[in-house]
Symmetry: C3
């Protein structure tokens, strides 16, 4: 994953990672170093990866990572070139390791580095309202407009010809040319990902960002959370209406239309030219094909192939839904 | 439609409109002028109108407009006194013509004309919080209260005894006496209306406004979009709870109660004394009668006659819903 | 109910209450005084209480209050030691009496007493952003962080190690140690409780507060309304995702997880270790047990016992839901 925003504190020695996780491992090479933690398919031999579900066994057999966090049950399905660190809970372990690589990615405290835009390099190049704040490591292109009380926190890139409304807050986000973000949005906060724990939940790091592609529009009062280990992506010329919630790691294709109050849960992937009616909800980790139409109020709980029209809760073929409910 | 806010750039010559639309027409009177674009029933002989669906054929037969944008299929159903401009896509054509009459109505860039209220004529007549901004062409009556960080953009009328909360943004809106608008609302932005186009969607002009009538209350975090060719209207003493979304052209009657997180899609008309339960959704272009009760979570996809009680998705008679689901 | 925030204007003479309500009563002791209005179980002999539904007849028989507002139908089921004031509509009468005891609890006008935090006692003890406002009767503990444009109105206690985001507004709320409240929230406004009336609805007083317990997290764009006659409570280590609406008097237990866009209607009580999926809605006055799982999109309209898994609208056993919809 391309990630310009969270600085990597690695490398770390395997000895230290084993100790952090109270892991068991057969390796003698405790002084070996890893420079990053990545998923099974994107990790290279300088990385540590993780394998927590049989679903990914083909990827595990072929990973190029030198080290892999996994369980006793799964350890035999991992590439022979990869040394396994055995733990009880893989995802908690991944959270701990990601946190040492990317310590800034866990909390979302407000950005104390912001200045009034009139005191920054953007004071002459941007048209802006009252009380606009801009943080460190921000780029803003040509012909951009930013409304009143809007806060562009650190780690934001806004390309050319973009319009940002009033009362909006953006962090950890890459906004391409000609995007409109309307009023009262929160873009780029950490996702709702954590491991439950009865005294205080254990938060999962979110080192991803939000990417909003060309000509997209985001309606008022919407929230788009940044990704955990990947990015949250809104496609080109995709329009979101008001009060929409897009969870972490969601990817929406191009020319897609999402009506008011829709919610899309984490890691779901949505195709191009999709139409989603108002108040529809889509569960996490699903794949919605291209040219799909989802009726208003639907609850989608399984994958939808290309060119389908669905409606209902759970969503089914729209003709069947209307016939069943005549 | 009474519209005090968007200035009309007309008249325009029919010659220029035909050219803009690449329309075909049998008229020889290319120098004729039209002063406005209105719908079939409200247009007079100085106007151009439009007819895009058989549903409106009775209105088309009786329109008083001198010119009408329509299609080859529909042209024979239009009043004999009205000259037809034939196009392929009526609504795209209407968008183009409306945009030349009302060029300000397409974009919703923040209002750069606002001043701190302490620098305006309202500094002594309004009770206001910190950082309140007020734009051009705003009127505020007696005994009004406006909370912190609230922005009253241009083209807003607030009558007497109104309370506006904090962090709220209002534009293109007429607020009658004794209305309360709570915190974090966005009132009067353009609706989610556009014609899909694969490079960049073609936005529909929104020349309507929002009208909020006497004693109404709008809950926190709600969004009410202004109308496109008509107004969005909230009735007298009608109460909206938090996080409600009211789309463009919706009309809600008097003494109606709308619970939290309800969404009402574009152009739906809702009667008086209606009760709508939490999270209910109502599709667009429907008519909900007087004294209707809609159960929480319902999805309403067809018209509901007066005095009905409905629940379910799709919504049906509430007794039937409860019996079917016993 | 422990209530540090709304000052009680009592005592009041029974004579004045009878007159206010146009009540009828057999008492001769018109000079007797009552110091507060409380519900049947918490009222003591210095209080007036109320009894409006047979459901509470056991409590009515045992109340310690000296006076009770009720109806002619119900009067014989009230404790013999308690003098009844007979009215037509008990709840309207309660609203009127509560309003004279707690006149500040009806309106939610913005707090005009706030100052920039840099002008308060908290300027050195809190880490804060731009344009942070703090009202009267506020306490903020050690190691707290408050983001940009956030307003802490009067009557708020924030204990130690709390993080409040940007653009958030808090009033009438008690926040315990180690709580996080993210951006754009409205916490502690009056609930959506009123008695419909065709000229102008009659608002119910809200003298309760919001209590958010240790290690809880409240997501972006959420609204939590304060209680009317009791408090709205979020349990320890309970996490709420974005765009959630919690109505007045709701109580949520500990270690509960609530996903995005969920709505919980007034006076519902939710147990510990509950998981609620995205966009689920829960009707008012229900009891959801411990360890319950509620699927995304569900509409819960009846009580749910401990350890149940439910889904659907109306919600039923999740296995049955999935089987019925295969």
């Amino acid at each position: 994953m391309f990630n310009p925003f969270f600085s990597n504190q690695g490398p770390f020695k395997i000895r230290d990672i084993i100790e952090l996780l109270s892991a068991s491992s057969s390796t003698n090479n405790l002084d070996a170093e890893v420079i990053d933690i990545k998923n099974l398919s994107s990790a290279n031999k300088s990385c540590i990866t993780f394998f927590h579900s049989k679903k990914y066994k083909t990827l595990a057999k072929n990973t190029k990572a030198s080290f892999c966090i996994s369980t006793d049950n799964l350890k035999d399905q991992i590439s022979d070139n990869c040394i396994v660190l055995i733990v009880e809970n893989v995802l908690v372990a991944v959270a701990k390791v990601t946190k040492i690589f990317y310590p800034d990615s866990v909390d979302d405290e407000f950005d104390n580095s912001v200045l009034l835009i009139s005191k920054t390099e953007f004071k002459d190049s941007v048209i802006y309202g009252h009380n606009v704040l801009v943080g460190q490591n921000v780029k803003i292109g040509k012909n951009c407009i930013i409304g009143h009380n809007t806060i562009i926190e650190k780690n934001v890139v806004i390309e050319d010809n973009c319009t940002i409304g009033s009362n909006t807050l953006i962090r950890n986000t890459l906004i391409k040319n000609n995007v409109s973000i309307l009023d009262n949005c929160i873009i780029g906060k950490k996702g709702f990902g954590f491991f439950p724990n009865n005294i205080s939940n254990y938060r999962y790091p979110h080192i991803g960002m939000v990417i909003i592609n060309e000509f997209a529009e985001i309606g008022c009062g919407s929230t788009i959370d940044r990704g955990s280990m990947s990015n949250t992506i809104i496609g080109k010329n995709t329009y979101l209406d008001n009060q929409i919630h897009i969870a972490h790691n969601v990817q929406i294709g191009n020319n897609t239309i999402v009506a008011g109050q829709v919610g899309i849960a984490g890691s779901t992937i949505i195709g191009d030219n999709v139409k989603i009616g108002g108040q529809a909800g889509i569960s996490g980790h699903l794949k919605i094909g291209n040219n799909v139409e989802i009726g208003g109020g639907s609850g989608v709980i399984k994958n939808i192939p290309d060119n389908s029209k669905v409606m209902g809760y759970p969503a089914k073929n729209i003709r069947k839904f209307l016939k069943d409910n005549r």
